[in-house]
Amino acid sequence: MKILLVDDEEDIRKIGRLSLEAVGKFQAVVASGGAEALQMAWDERPDLILMDVMMPEMDGPTAVVKLRLIPELQAIPIVFMTARVQRAEIDHYLALGAIGVIPKPFDPMALPDQIRKIMASRGG
């Protein structure tokens, strides 16, 4: 399974990539912001996008809205990653069409399992 990880922090991208590839055995590609995410999504056609929420220039939710406007990319499931996990905010992300939310800081050993659980609860 190919996962696109979008985060503006280089260290998080490195850690996240290692977690997805070495621990989760996924294929991982990364983007450093909302604009690059759109480009990478088009080029790579991932099976899942792990999207950070707070990014400068174009934030996660805005990028998601734009993604949904592109017919070929509409169906890609999105999981948000964020430090803000109040109930109201989670509801907001789900309303945008995300299939799940993973809180930060995340445990790189647990991240792949969390992703698998979210995919499974979707009903595959």
Partner: protein, 686 residues
């Protein structure tokens, strides 16, 4: 000599005499003129206005006599007062009553006496107008008649004096009252003028009557522009008012008009109404206010006006916004590097980047557990800030405390086992429900249990108990540890207070648990504290107000009708229960809409009484639900003890409405009528 008799009404007579305040006053020309006239009419040298006191006769006016008074016993006038009738003594020496009277045998050597009683309008004889001569004689009938006329004049004078005095006293009182009123008005004016809050008062229909100086400053209107001419609605945003009207309609169960009605709907019902609104100045600029609206009522309880007091909360809102932005920013800024640290360490520790030398692994593990600790700390700080600043919504529900404690014991058993500590529930938990957020309540119990476990010696037990005291439920968590050091007692609920810094790492914890627990319990209207436990250790406790009991009470007589009484005031609930039991009904009680729903779903009732305002809100929606459901469409519903008669749809859905104060016989009659109609008794839980 015969002494004068004392009349039967002597005490009242003396009292009456005092009221004239005439005794021992200086001579006055009005009276002296009359005695002179009397002497001339009778052709005698002496004429007196004599007033009979307890033991003396005292002369207000004495024509031809120097002496101001004599003892009553020897007075001739005393006899007039004693008998109430006029007295004529033509020759005192020939009269056995007076022949040896000192005033006859000695000065002034009275021989002739004629005295007419001075009688007050209400019939008391105060004294006489008398004429005296040193020679024996008689008066003609005309002279007698004239003396009676003069006596009436004397009484007139006495009356006039008395009335003047009364009037003067009244005037003095009026002047004092006016001064008081004037002082009160000054004071109130001063308060209105100098108060730092906007005070706006309106007529019942919404026209502004008072617009104080602070309101003028805050809003940019002058009082003259608005008083008598405008409604406070012009100070508000119509969209905001309309939205609030809709909210209120739902909350109160009655339609609320957008407009002045929205401001006063709650105040009209006697409910406290304080909320945040936007005020719009004359120049169109806006600012947030905290507005409190109350209704003013007259002697008969009718509304005579509305009072709106508003304070500018711009500053407070600015600070709130900064705070919540700060919390969000800090949250993100702290968590971002932590994510990287924790992430990198996690990968290292798990050997994903390759096997680590043993010692390296040991230190990496230290780094991992500390960054976990940092994450918990940040979470706790943000948690307590959220609870304090009201950002966290508590989801209140009715919770049986005994169950919550049992759950907490089960959930924390494994944790306690790590310290070789047993958790025990001592005694039967007292029955009782509280209104609380279940997750937060669990959080408090976990906090207290984990503290107790951490500070217990190995193999000890931590005992929990649930008791009930005066309408409050008390949960205690007792450990057999070393106890709280004296120096620490005052600070224990403060943030980051940890007694034993040397051991903190071993104990874990962030030092925030108790202050979070305190914030949670206080938010639920309870209190939290601790006491040294007898025999060593500490007993932590928290208390929460208890809801009135729900459920069946006295055993139902077979075939008795079952009534569900929905009432959250414990005294009234008890009274209704006893009343209905006395009349042969079996009663279940519910203080909340939520419980009522549960009971109605699982039990059969022949009728229900309903207080529209229950512990968890307005029951209008419940009534509509019941009527919409087949099972309860016909259930007789009697609304009891409402402050304001429900208008509109709710009123038409219920069978009867019994207002405050409760007429017991009317309630019983209504229930009898309802249960007669509901007919035969079907089986349980339909």
């Amino acid at each position: 000599m015969k002494k004068p008799d004392t009349p039967a009404d002597e005490l009242q007579r003396l009292d009456k005499l005092r009221q004239y305040q005439i005794l021992d006053t200086a001579p006055e020309s009005a009276f002296d003129d009359l005695t002179k006239l009397a002497a001339y009419v009778a052709g005698v040298p002496i004429a007196l206005v004599s007033l009979i006191d307890a033991d003396r006769q005292w002369f207000k006016s004495r024509y031809g006599l120097e002496v101001p008074e004599t003892p009553r016993d020897v007075s001739f006038c005393g006899h007039v007062v004693g008998s109430g009738a006029a007295l004529t003594v033509p020759d005192a020496l020939a009269d056995p009553r007076f022949a040896d009277n000192p005033l006859v045998t000695g000065a002034p050597e009275i021989r002739f006496y004629a005295g007419t009683p001075l009688v007050t309008p209400d019939g008391f004889t105060l004294g006489t107008l008398c004429t005296i001569d040193v020679r024996a004689r008689q008066l003609s009938p005309e002279q007698d008649a004239l003396l009676k006329v003069l006596a009436r004049q004397v009484v007139d004078q006495l009356e006039r004096r008395r009335q003047t005095r009364v009037l003067q006293a009244q005037q003095a009182q009026l002047a004092r009252n006016m001064q008081q009123t004037s002082d009160a008005v000054s004071l109130l004016r001063g308060i209105l003028k100098n108060a730092n809050v906007s005070v706006i008062e309106t007529t019942p229909s919404g026209t502004i009557r008072v617009f104080n100086a602070a309101a003028e400053r805050m809003l940019g209107y002058s009082a003259e522009e608005l008083v008598g001419q405008a409604s406070p609605a012009i100070l508000h945003d119509p969209a905001e008012v309309a939205a609030r009207a809709i909210e209120l309609s739902t909350e109160l169960g009655v339609p609320v008009e957008p407009g002045f009605d929205a401001f006063v709907a709650k105040a009209r019902r006697g409910t406290a109404d304080e909320g945040e609104w936007t005020y719009i100045r004359k120049d169109g600029s806006r600012f947030p206010v905290l507005l409190s609206v109350t209704a003013r009522r007259g002697a008969r309880g009718e509304i005579v006006g509305y009072l709106g007091i508003a304070s500018d909360i711009s500053e407070r809102k600015r600070v709130e916004r900064l705070q919540s932005e700060f919390v969000s920013t800090v949250s993100h800024e702290l968590r971002t590097p932590l994510t990287a640290i924790r992430g990198a360490l996690g990968l290292l520790a798990a050997g994903v980047t390759g096997a680590l030398p043993v010692q390296a692994k040991e230190y990496v593990d230290i780094a991992v557990s500390n960054s976990d600790r940092l994450v918990r700390l940040i979470n706790d700080i943000l948690d307590i800030d959220k609870i304090r600043s009201d950002d966290v919504t508590f989801k209140f529900m009715t919770i049986p405390v005994g169950n919550a404690v049992k759950h907490a014991i089960a959930a924390n058993a494994a944790f306690a086992a790590q310290y070789a500590v047993r958790l025990e529930l001592v005694g039967d938990p007292a029955a009782g429900d509280v209104r609380a957020d279940p997750d937060r309540l669990a959080q408090v119990l976990t906090n207290l249990i984990s503290n107790a476990a951490k500070f217990s010696p190995t193999d000890a037990s931590v005992e929990l108990a649930v008791t009930r005291r005066d309408g409050r439920i008390r949960v205690t968590v007792r450990d057999h540890g070393p106890g709280i050091p004296d120096a620490f007692r005052g600070r224990i609920f403060q943030r980051f207070a940890q007694a034993d810094t040397s051991n903190t790492r071993q104990r874990g914890g962030t030092g925030l648990g108790l202050s979070i627990s305190k914030a949670i319990i206080e938010k639920m209207d309870g209190l939290i504290g601790f006491e040294p436990a007898p025999g060593g250790g500490t007993e932590f406790y928290f208390e929460l107000p208890c809801l009135p009991a729900v459920g069946t009470t006295a055993p139902a007589a077979a075939g008795a009708f079952r009534i569900l009484v929905c009432e959250d005031d414990p005294d009234l609930a008890g009274a209704l229960e006893r009343l209905l039991n006395r009349h042969g009904f079996s009663v279940d009680l519910s203080p909340t809409i939520e419980r009522a729903r549960q009971l109605l779903a699982s039990e059969h009732y022949d009728a229900m009484t309903l207080d529209l305002m229950l512990a968890d809100g307005h029951a209008g929606a419940l009534v509509r639900e019941l009527r919409a459901s087949e099972a309860t469409r016909q259930l007789p519903i009697i609304v009891v003890s409402c402050v304001d008669a429900p208008a509109g749809s709710v009123a038409s859905l219920v069978n009867d409405i019994i207002p405050e104060p409760l007429d017991e016989s009317r309630l019983v009659a209504a229930i009898n009528k309802a249960t007669a109609v509901s007919g035969s008794r079907p089986g349980p839980a339909g």
